[in-house]
């Protein structure tokens, strides 16, 4: 056994490490919406980072001249007077070119739908390159690690990278990022003392002139915001911007975002950290003031389908416009015997809604679903059952009566596979502890011949509507993930000891004879070994 083989076995054995160690050491982050108060803490930590102080000193003493990077949402970047962005006639001096042209990476891992980026104080942006799903800001380091050249961040050969389109305007990339993730991205510009002097949203198109920036060292940080106005701290994403001359004629294609004007620093230029803290407090207060949940409505979804397919869409609306929603309410299910209610299920639904309305005039609305399956499980555990009949659900102040019907065994009017187009791509997988068995089913099919064969078998299944017992929803399952010609995706899951129960996307449960499913499974295995 080689060290690497041994390492792989040990690597697998390590899987059972504690959650604390795993979470503590994760540096990749995830798209968790973070409260603003956390953001200010991290930003403060950044400000107090000893490296930051050193970098500031280094940057000031170097006096490096660098191009300015600003952009608008639409149209090309307007260059600063006297030069072009990153072009031949840029503001770079010979001296600065010597240091700044050294290839380096300052801001990496800027993924299309992720704003987890690491800060790199002391880096000055030169230009960036875009690599599909991996964006690399290439820059020169003017900080304390000036002489270090690290070839990190790139994936692919030099030829591949060279073949990629150059993005001369880094904000072009950021706008792409914004549109991809439907977030608002703010740019903050700080002076060398980290006072906030400019804040602008990149998704506002109207260009304005500003005379706020003069010669000196600036820092730019980016903050993104989710659609629901929760700000995701991207404070780590800071880079230095050093300007060599008066740039009061610089045109910046960004404007103040009107609704945030009250949080902008005054003429006295409040430090950034203060601004963020105040912002957080306002948000905190707003949430506290809106703990009272608004009106609820209950909407039955597929009310006449099989019992297992019933769930309730719960729609909540805030009581006042401009208020956020926080919801935690009690859900009760009653069986009706005439006018008499029999409580059969009761639990708290904690929805953790922190939804802010889009504008001060809007009501915040939140919708969720509550399934009957959990109620059904509880009843079965008590030897009871969720049988057909009339029921009542109460959620907060809303009440809804509904009838449960059981259509198990009914042949659907339209065969569930016949109404669907032939997919262009299919991926089959079997969830099982038996890795050998799992591998027999794992495959992507793009061959029309194979997909047609597979689909023909599916359309031939004898299908009836089903009401499968709950326990079959745990255990091994066969998944068929499909991509239709129009690009939409779907999935079919077969469950049960013999994989006889299945559903398509979010549709109702069906049942097929076990022998037909067994033939289907055999066919899938055969298709895998079919070289045509």
């Amino acid at each position: 056994m080689t060290y690497a083989d041994k390492g792989l076995s040990l690597y697998a054995l390590m899987n059972d490490m504690s959650d604390e160690l795993i979470n503590e050491s994760d540096i990749r982050g995830c798209a968790v919406v973070k409260p603003k108060r956390e953001r200010s803490g991290r930003f403060s930590a950044f400000m107090n980072h000893p490296a930051m102080v050193a970098v500031l000193c280094a940057v000031v003493s170097l006096g490096v001249l660098v191009a300015v990077v600003m952009a608008g949402r639409e149209g090309p970047v307007t260059p600063p007077v006297g030069g072009t962005l990153y072009g031949e006639e840029s503001l770079l001096t010979e001296e600065s070119e010597a240091s700044t042209l050294r290839p380096n990476i300052s801001l990496e891992d800027f993924y299309a739908s992720d704003v987890y980026v690491s800060y790199s104080p002391g880096y000055t942006l030169l230009h960036c390159e875009m690599i599909p799903e991996r964006y690399v800001f290439q820059s020169a380091n003017i900080g304390e690690e000036m002489l270090e050249v690290e070839s990190v961040g790139f994936e692919g050969s030099e030829e591949q990278i060279a073949a990629l389109p150059k993005v001369e305007d880094p904000f072009e990339l950021l706008r792409f990022h914004v549109s991809e993730t439907r977030r608002t991205l703010f740019v903050f510009i700080h002076d060398a003392d980290m006072n906030l002097i400019h804040r602008a949203s990149l998704d506002v198109a109207e260009p304005v002139l500003t005379d706020k920036l003069a010669a000196g060292v600036y820092y730019v940080s980016l903050h993104s915001e989710w659609e629901n106005n929760e700000t995701y701290g991207a404070d780590e994403f800071v880079f230095a911007l050093s300007l060599s001359k008066e740039i009061d004629s610089l045109k910046i294609d960004m404007v103040w975002k009107e609704e945030t004007e009250d949080t902008l620093p005054s003429e006295s230029q409040e430090p950034m950290t203060e601004s963020v803290t105040q912002d957080s407090q306002e948000t905190e207060t707003r949430y506290e003031a809106t703990e009272q949940v608004g009106d609820y409505t209950l909407i039955p979804h597929t009310p006449t389908a099989g019992i297992n397919d019933n769930y309730f869409k719960i729609s909540m609306t805030a009581t006042e416009p401009g208020k956020a929603l926080m919801a935690s309410a009690n859900y009760r299910l009653y069986r009706l015997h005439g006018d008499e209610e029999e409580l059969i299920h009761d639990y708290d639904v904690e929805l953790a809604v922190h939804e802010e309305p889009a504008s001060p005039d809007d009501y915040a609305v939140y919708e969720t679903g509550v399934s009957l399956v959990w109620a059904k499980n509880n009843l079965e555990a008590k030897g009871d059952a969720l049988t057909p009949g009339w029921y009542r659900v109460k959620f907060a102040r809303a009440t809804l009566d509904f009838e449960l019907t059981d259509e198990t065994g009914k042949v659907p009017e339209v065969h569930p596979f016949k109404e669907r187009p032939l997919p262009v791509r299919v991926y089959t997988s079997l969830s099982t502890e038996d890795m050998d068995l799992m591998e027999q089913y794992e495959r992507v099919y793009t061959s029309t011949y194979k997909i047609e064969k597979l689909w023909a078998s599916l359309t031939k299944l004898t299908v009836t509507e089903a009401n499968p017992p709950e326990h079959i929803r745990s255990g091994d399952g066969l998944g068929i993930h499909v991509t239709y010609p129009d690009g939409t995706k779907g999935r079919i899951f077969f469950w049960g000891e013999q994989h006889e129960y299945f559903y398509i996307d979010d549709g109702p449960w069906y049942q097929a004879p076990p022998e037909e499913v067994a033939a289907l499974m055999t066919q899938i295995k055969n298709l895998l070994s079919d070289p045509t």
Partner: protein, 184 residues
């Protein structure tokens, strides 16, 4: 929302058998899972499938399982599936960075049959006695499959410094295990 709150709200959807649980899981943890898997399998397509299978497994097991940290739970599953996938693919396409990490692990730990289920506890005990930064670097490299360069960027160190710290930690781990009678 912190991880615990996020976990609670998403787990509630799983318990309600609301399929938006998977959508939410993907929204919040999808990229995290993809990166973890890609760090192991070394390519996007395989990682995508591992992550899809992870969601299926979570859907299968929650309930009855009720993990206190969904992120940790997901990462264990996605890591496990990715390791299996990597093992299956290894002859054809090796992930050079992971191979280096595996080699390093193989050098400092006893044979798997010697440690078996003790390994996580032994490692935890050792790592908890270590300086926090070294602990995070070790886990980052050998659990999350993060490259040395990425660790360096994140922790504001040079790659050399990260490598040195990892080497020292491995040497200490080796000695730690030797003291407890394990043969490396």
């Amino acid at each position: 929302m912190d991880d615990r709150e996020t976990t609670r709200s998403i787990i509630a959807l799983y318990f309600a058998r609301d399929e938006r649980a998977i959508v939410e899981t993907d929204r919040v943890y999808g990229k995290f899972c993809m990166r973890l898997s890609e760090g192991i399998v070394g390519n996007h397509a395989d990682a995508e499938e591992c992550v899809n299978d992870t969601y299926l497994k979570v859907w299968n097991t929650v309930p009855p399982k009720n993990p206190p940290s969904l992120k940790a739970y997901l990462s264990k599953i996605v890591r496990n599936l990715s390791i299996n996938r990597y093992h299956a693919n290894r002859a054809a396409k090796r992930n050079r960075d992971l191979e280096v990490a595996l080699h390093e692990l193989g050098e400092c730990l006893p044979a798997p049959e010697e440690v078996e289920s003790d390994l996580p506890r032994l490692l935890e005990a050792f790592l908890m006695s270590e300086e926090a930064l070294n602990r995070k670097l070790f886990m980052g490299r050998y659990w999350h499959a993060v490259s040395v360069n990425d660790l360096a960027k994140h922790y504001g160190l040079t790659p050399n410094a990260v490598t040195k710290r990892l080497t020292r930690t491995r040497e200490k781990l080796r000695a730690y295990l030797a003291e407890r009678g394990y043969r490396i």
